[in-house]
Amino acid sequence: MIEAHGLTKVYGDKRAVDDLSFTVRPGTVTGFLGPNGAGKSTTMRMIVGLDRPDAGTARIGGRPYRDTPAPLQEVGCHLDARAAHPGRTAYNTLLALAQSNGIPASRVDEVLGIVGLSEVARRRSGGFSLGMGQRLGIAAALLGDPGVLILDEPVNGLDPEGILWVRNLLKHLASEGRTVLVSSHLMSEMALTAEHLVVIGRGRLLADTTVEAFIESSSQRSIRIVSPHAVHLRDRLVAAGGVVSHDGGHGLEVTGLDQVVVGDVAAAAGATVHELRTQQPSLEEAFMELTRDSVEYSATSTTTTDVTTHHRSAA
């Protein structure tokens, strides 16, 4: 369990993280989403005590990270694929970390096996590709077999096979009852990996919800109706209160009306219907919409919260 309460980090006159509160629960993968520069990395660094918050607190398992007696056993962190000394071998990098926490050296070989780096264990990490660096970072996070995992953009630089591996690994780790917080700016990736989402924009919380509810809450949901009487139908739908766009042929896009209402309007109008369906926006689209709001409203300081409430009430 990770608990953030009012986390705030100010750089000069920029509020990189602004009164951010959320809870990450065990047993599911929680995606930490936001555009680049939203404050994801800073938040993660504050959670594990690398950066000092200007306000607020972060607790892991009920206490600040700094107070954990064997931190690597409690929390596994992978914040940067280029965080190992390039002159040291993968094995020795992990051995030094293991020794500091009194973790048996045999565990080093184990985690190297888990991430698939056994064969290059005795090679200096300076020669590693970005993907191998990610694997080494994940190995370091797994070293203490921790109940909480915090990973910052772990799939960056991985090939498709590597991305699939990380995805399955994270799901597996969560299924064992671990708390998994993973950041990404790739919404499509999170749609496949995460069950829960914490979305931030400009350092503020935009949504804290399930992936399902997040997509559901998007106001972008529209109804597509295809009819040879499209022009006639369009006027009736507008009269019923819908916002309608016509593709010029037989297709109409309707927002502001339910699928049932659209069907009823079509029946009442005597229009032949070839197709009628609700178009679910992808996570990508829901996210774009949400963060566009946060950018639009950022000039005034209060409305971002309104956006959040709007989405929560919609959920």
């Binding site: 007696p69 965080a83 804290d208």
Partner: protein
């Protein structure tokens, strides 16, 4: 809060690991830092460079002295001091050791490895303290070897003209044991400056400035103030122990080394406070 609760969080049993971690302690921090120090090639190349510089300069200068002895004027002969010839390379070794001390910490900042170190030991101070202990021990041992090897090589060459010093001569043993101690303190100053500046070039430049540039500048201060100031500078104070005939106006040899060590302690204490307070 969200109206949709995530999948039954209360029923999830938190993960319990079969791996047994004993937890962070200072001896474990020492063990970890020793692994880091010994597994970097730069550690051994830097130390080897320092040893070779000392022995190489000793051999070179001793050979020149011997070859020119017959034509050397009486005054220079009277002032000749065999140990200063044997340890003529100390200044060069000090530069290599200064870089060694600085790099021990700035190398971690440059590569980002510092974050892993501080995540593993979040109270942070043990990391710096362990580095300091290891740096002092490793530098002392390796530079004791370098000092004794330089003395042996120089003695072998100088004995051809009967110019060699003996271990029993006054001050010789003190210099042979004190010179590596002076170099160990140089390494600690490097660690302190490196931890505060967090940059390899800035750290090395600053330390060399303090050791080599500051002394002549202090001498420019007017009268008694300049003289006193220059005696209390870290390098002048520490170097007294490396001289068979210390500067009579300066601090006593071991006191001087103590003063230099005090500078290092103050610097490391400041570095520890900053390490705990600053974002990593």
């Amino acid at each position: 809060m969200s109206t949709v609760t995530p999948t039954a969080p209360d029923t999830v049993r938190p993960y319990l690991s079969p791996v047994r971690a004993k937890g962070v302690s200072f001896p474990r921090a020492l063990q970890s830092e020793w692994t880091k120090l010994r597994t970097l090639r730069s550690t051994w190349t830097t130390l080897a460079t320092a040893v070779l510089l000392m022995v190489g300069v000793a051999v070179l200068v001793s050979s020149v002295v011997v070859s020119q002895w017959d034509t050397t004027d009486p005054l220079s002969r009277a002032l000749f001091e065999p140990l200063s010839v044997a340890l003529a390379g100390t200044t060069f070794a000090a530069i290599a050791i200064a870089a060694f001390g600085v790099l021990t910490i700035t190398g971690e900042y440059a590569t980002g490895a510092i974050r892993g170190s501080l995540l593993a030991v979040p109270r942070r101070t043990p990391v710096l303290l362990a580095k300091a202990v290891l740096l002092a021990v490793v530098t002392y041992v390796s530079m004791l070897i370098a000092t004794l090897a330089s003395f042996a090589a120089s003695t072998a060459i100088l004995s051809g003209k009967g110019l060699d010093a003996s271990l029993g001569d006054p001050g010789v043993l003190r210099v042979l044991l004190g010179t590596p101690a002076y170099l160990a303190v140089v390494a600690l100053l490097g660690l302190g400056i490196g931890a505060i500046l967090r940059s390899t070039p800035a750290g090395i430049t600053s330390l060399i400035g303090v050791l080599l540039v500051l002394p002549p500048l202090a001498g420019l201060l007017p009268g008694k103030i300049g003289e006193t100031a220059s005696h209390w500078l870290p390098s002048a104070a520490g170097q007294q122990v490396t001289l068979v005939t210390p500067d009579p106006g300066g601090l006593a040899p071991w006191l001087g080394l103590g003063v230099m060590a005090a500078y290092a302690v103050v610097l490391l204490a400041a570095a520890a406070v900053m390490l705990r307070r600053r974002d990593a």
